[in-house]
Each structure stands twice: as structure tokens, then as C-alpha cells.
Subunit: 236 residues, 2 copies
Amino acid sequence: MFSSSANVSERRAAPPSLAISTVIFALRPSATSGRPTLWLPLVRRIREPFKGLWALPGGPLSHDESLQDAASRNLRDTTGLAPSYLEQLYAFGGLHRSPSQRVVSIVYWALVQPTEAALADESENVRWFRADRLGDLAFDHNAIVDYALWRLRNKLAYGSVAYHLLGEYFTLAQVREVYEAVLDRQLDPANFRRQLKATPEIEETGEYLQGGKHRPPRLYRYTGRPGLDPDNRSTP
Amino acid sequence: MFSSSANVSERRAAPPSLAISTVIFALRPSATSGRPTLWLPLVRRIREPFKGLWALPGGPLSHDESLQDAASRNLRDTTGLAPSYLEQLYAFGGLHRSPSQRVVSIVYWALVQPTEAALADESENVRWFRADRLGDLAFDHNAIVDYALWRLRNKLAYGSVAYHLLGEYFTLAQVREVYEAVLDRQLDPANFRRQLKATPEIEETGEYLQGGKHRPPRLYRYTGRPGLDPDNRSTP
DNA sequence: ATTAGTTTGAGTCAAGTTGACTATAACTAG
DNA sequence: CTAGTTATAGTCAACTTGACTCAAACTAAT
């Protein structure tokens, strides 16, 4: 370990250190509108640099775990959550990301289902924030979150990722609400439903969602595997 | 540095080491058909592990260069080339990628123009191979090349990347040949040309390519920036 | 000079997709 | 029983895509 007071020659001599961080997205009802919105958990820095500021959950890579396992553990340690989707985002390795020491961060992004997200740990030093109202984060973490959001929007348009923000059963309107929250624009209900019904990975169940105030919508299920990055390729 | 004979306890104690590698694509005429085909340069391993096998160009990350700079230097050192396109591919960090030591490799992929590629260094220990006929490579490099190919095909379909495999001026038929080489299927010339003419980043020049055996085709130019990953976002 | 061969480049047509919109069905709250 | 609201189906015009035809422009061979 290197202290934050490492001088220049120490810094030059040190090999770049390697860390894993994760951007964790979940849907929570907005405080104002009640509609689902994107939220993510951050942890407060308890030491320099950036002491007191909020940052992405992360930590060093231990020698006996893969990158994805490290991200997964990291997520469980800080929030108590198990992700329903986990993918590598990017390796950030700029020279001046941390003032004290050269750090290369391999960042993952994750989606968790709302049932899980509801029972997530929250404390003095772990808190959930709306993804569009984060304030200034430590290091380059604002840029990282921006990129993760861009990726999420992209994957969403591509098609396969929305369901991992929902539970096992969902209505087509709920899927549309996910799209509307993430893309931040309204979508035509009828046209959206037509597209979803055309994708074979969405299976109609016999069930209906009861207890609503209006006509009960049919429940659907997602059948289909995510993976296309190297770590997920072998599992069909 | 750790020797390949490091014992188990040394291995457990060592922090994972960090390396940069690059998958470099260029177009060269096929020996048989003469049509453009994808080729990439590999370097021969001169020490264990995998001594004698071919591997992707790569090396350690030095403390004073960014990840992208390291990939770029690495490319220049082994092949003498400057890339016209360079993007991060993935960070590979499986536990058993190297038998002797835990290595995390941040891999970039690059495209070089054929004029450059023609004067690339080639030697006993640096040689170009057809991307579809590589044989067994060192480490997990076959999987890495497969993933890079998958990414290339994807980006191609997305639209912006084909021109970086060509020179500054090109005919629409040359662009089609790039697509045919990378996607490995024939495309209808008339429909393909219609699509290209609809993309605003392709600009008609007044020039024609002379010296062909048939009707001289018009020359075009690509105007448009690549970047969408974090390292290239600020440059508009 | 003429013709055959080849590639460029424009256009047509049917099939499929998308966005805007209308209409009906099925439920709840009063 | 009625008004309000959401679910779900359907229509129609605009646009996109793939298969195909055809003329234009050049070279090479007769």
C-alpha cells in the first residue's frame, strides 16, 4: 500500500495499482412523480484523497478472484445485493485520476431487480442517489457514471437488458416505463407493445396482474440469455 | 519482475500484474483470390511460457503513459505502424491466463490503412497472418482475436469504422469490399451504394479513380469522427 | 472502328417496419 | 350504472430493405 503522501519519486517507482469499481443501477419510484427512476448506490470516502465525497463502490483486486467475481463481491459487500446483470464497462487508466498514486480501474456495471434493491443496505456511508442528480463525485467517477448511462441506453435500444431491472414477471407497461425512465422520453404504448410482442424472448404467461385500479394487464416472462462479452460467452 | 519458475507462495503473494496488448487489423490482398482480406501481425514468444508460439503484440504498462498511449507505442514498437483507429477492446483477467503468474491484460484493437500496412516491419519474430487462419496462439489470445473480430463486425454494421481500413480517398466499391471481407458474405452493389450515399459522413469528391480496366469510379472521402468511448469523447 | 465484356451508377417494385392515430375491451371508483 | 383509466387491437401513410433491371462509361480484343 502507498500512502497519499507518497512523494514524486515513490510515485514514479510504483507500478500502477489495479482496482475494481462498479456502477450499480436499480429502479426506484421517484419521490415526486412516483414513476420509476434510475438510482445508484454510492459510498462515502472516509480517507484522502477526496475524503467526504461520494464515490463508486470499489476496491482492490485480490489475487484469487476473477475480475467479474471481484465486481460481484464488491457489490455484495457494499450493498448486500446480488446483481441480475453484470458486465464489464471499461478500464480507466488516465495518469491523473488519483492525485496520490497511479490507479487503473476496471469498472463493471450492474443491474439489480427492484425487489432486491428495496432491501439494500443503506447507512451513514452508503446511500442511494438518483442517477440524474449526483453532484460532484470523487475521482473521475462522474465521467464513469455518464459513460455507464450511455452504455445502458445503448444496450436498452439493442434490446436485451431492460428485463434485468424488473422482476421475473412483468407487464408490458412496466417494460415501457423502464424504457421511458432510462431514455427519458415518452413512448407510444401501442407501438411499443407491438414491438415487444414481436420479440420471441418475451413469453406470455397465463397470469394477470391483479389489484390495479383498472383493467388487469397480462404478465410476461423474459426467456433469453444476456451474454456477449468474453466472460459470458461460453454459458448458453 | 517474476520469473516463470515462481513457486506457489510467490504467486499468491504477488499482486496481479498489468499488461497492454493490441489486436491490429489491416487489409491485404489475399494470396489466392487477390481480394482484400483481414490480416494481423503477431510476434513470436522468445521466452516461457508458450516459448515459440505466436502471440499478440504487447507489454507492460509503464508508469508515465495512459492506457491508449501504451497501446499506441506498443503498436509502433512491434510493427512500426501508426493506427488510424484505436479503441479499447476489453480487460481480460481470468485466473489462469498465464501459467506462471496472474496477469490482467487490457487489450486494444486497431485499424491501419493499407498504405501503412504495406511498409510494416516484418522479421523472424514479427509476421502477418490472415485473421481466419491463425493456428494456436499463446495464452488466451485466440479467444481475444475472436472477440476483436466480433467487435469489428459489429462496429462495421453500426457504420463508422470501415473507412479507417482504407486510404483517404476511396471508391464505394472499395468500401463494399471491406464489408465483404469482414462480414464474409457478398453484398448487392446497387443496394450497398444506395445506403452509403444516404450517410452524410461520406462526401463526394470531384475526382475519379483512373487506370482501372473499366468505367472509372468516383472517389469519396470520409468526414466524421470515430470516438464514443470515454478516451475519445472530448474531441469533437 | 466496332464489338464484347465489365463495372459504375440510377431506378423500380414488393415486402416489411415505424410512427401517428383510432377504436374497443375490461377493469375500478364513485 | 356511469365516468375514468388502462390494456389491447387495428389502420394507414411514410420510410427502409432486398431482389432485380437497365443504361452509361470505360478497356480489350477483334
